[in-house]
Symmetry: C2
Subunit: 231 residues, 2 copies
């Protein structure tokens, strides 16, 4: 990952196409003048449950997890956000405090835009408002869809899901380095760590996967997809 490349001008930001394509130079300047970019190292916290929401947060690069700490001190991962995702979900409009914690699971660059600036743009630029909501709606809908996909399946289907998720949506390759621990996989798809490991081993023995620590190669994509489909 190229982290030394610091984007200083929104106008030239490669992610501008996202929801900001219809901003005038003037509106864009509003964002550019006060936005802050920050690099978070793998494992670093970006925000905590209960923190005041001050910014709209946009993931430029890397990978982060949204999670909740349960009463028994266990963590439950809600979703994994990838580049171009806005992070923090919709609570930024309906809450004053973050309802989830966010941590980088790979070195990540997050762009912070003052929430008031965004709100002001929504008020004054109708085209932007629609573009913007189209995008953030898609993210929220996909979180709901994912939770259902996971919870209506049993263990093998869930593991298949998460492997396909990383292969297709994150790394666009059948070979990748799993960015999270077995324990975190468990927290993400609601199963025990032991069973995550067991099912992965089973898949390896069945020649579906090749595994060396965090390094995973999907050797039979078709069959893995079928396991996902069948639940």
């Amino acid at each position: 990952m190229e982290l030394s490349h610091k984007i200083n001008n929104c106008k030239e930001c490669i992610y501008r196409s996202w929801a900001f394509k219809n901003l005038s130079d003037n509106d864009l300047k509003q964002i550019n003048d006060q936005k802050k970019e920050r690099l978070f190292r793998k494992g670093e916290n970006i925000c905590f449950e209960g923190d005041e929401i001050l910014s709209f947060m946009y993931l430029q690069n890397g990978l982060v997890k949204l999670f909740k700490t349960e009463s028994n001190n266990k963590e439950h991962i809600i979703s994994i956000a990838k580049p171009k995702d806005f992070i923090g979900l919709l609570s930024i409009f309906s809450n004053t405090k973050h309802i989830y914690s966010i941590t980088a699971i790979e070195d990540s660059i997050v762009c912070f835009v003052d929430l008031n600036v965004i709100k002001n743009l929504i008020k004054t630029n109708g085209i932007f408002a629609l573009d913007f909501f189209e995008k953030i709606s898609a993210v929220s809908d996909s979180v709901i869809k994912t939770r259902i996909d996971i919870n209506t399946r049993q263990l093998r289907g869930r593991i298949a899901y998460i492997l396909l998720f990383f292969a297709k949506h994150i790394y666009d390759s059948t070979t990748f380095n799993l960015p999270i621990s077995r324990k975190e996989v468990a927290e993400l798809i609601d199963m025990s760590t032991e069973n995550v490991i067991r099912v992965l081993s089973e898949f390896r023995k069945d020649n579906l996967l090749q595994i060396e620590g965090k390094n995973i190669e999907i050797k039979d994509l078709k069959r893995l997809e079928r396991i996902f489909e069948l639940g």
Copy 2:
């Protein structure tokens, strides 16, 4: 329920406070002129998965369920919407077709507003845009939170959840008529119909509930809440 009372003027609609409080008389007229209200009888379908999205739908009265039909022809209920909820979730901004089906589980009045009128208002009335997104964000966030609440609990906790949901959020009473069948409860909280019945019987035997068919009285709210908390 008073279904003969047809609301003809948005200006006097008791639900106007919702997200439409800051509309000028002129803007309100735009909505009023083309909105359509319709009564759906218990069991009637409001829309199907795959239908084109033409309207913003707002539940004035009654109760509806959002669900998906799985490949094995089983239904999976995503959420139950109550009066003042907009129904259809956020997909209305990021999709052209409904991703869930919606059916009335009690006689319900739904108000349909042409989606283009809403989009136009978002474009031209910034205050409205913000009010509006604040409300619909809250609904989406609550769907996500609910799915997590349910799926991180085991059977007794899930049944406790659903009983408390109806008692607190829908009927505001510890005595109520369960509007859905045991089977639908099962589809909503991801468990088998038999086990829904079993846990309900168990709660009855433990003097937590009194049950006569669909009629349920919560006799020990505190203990039910504790069961929910403990999972």
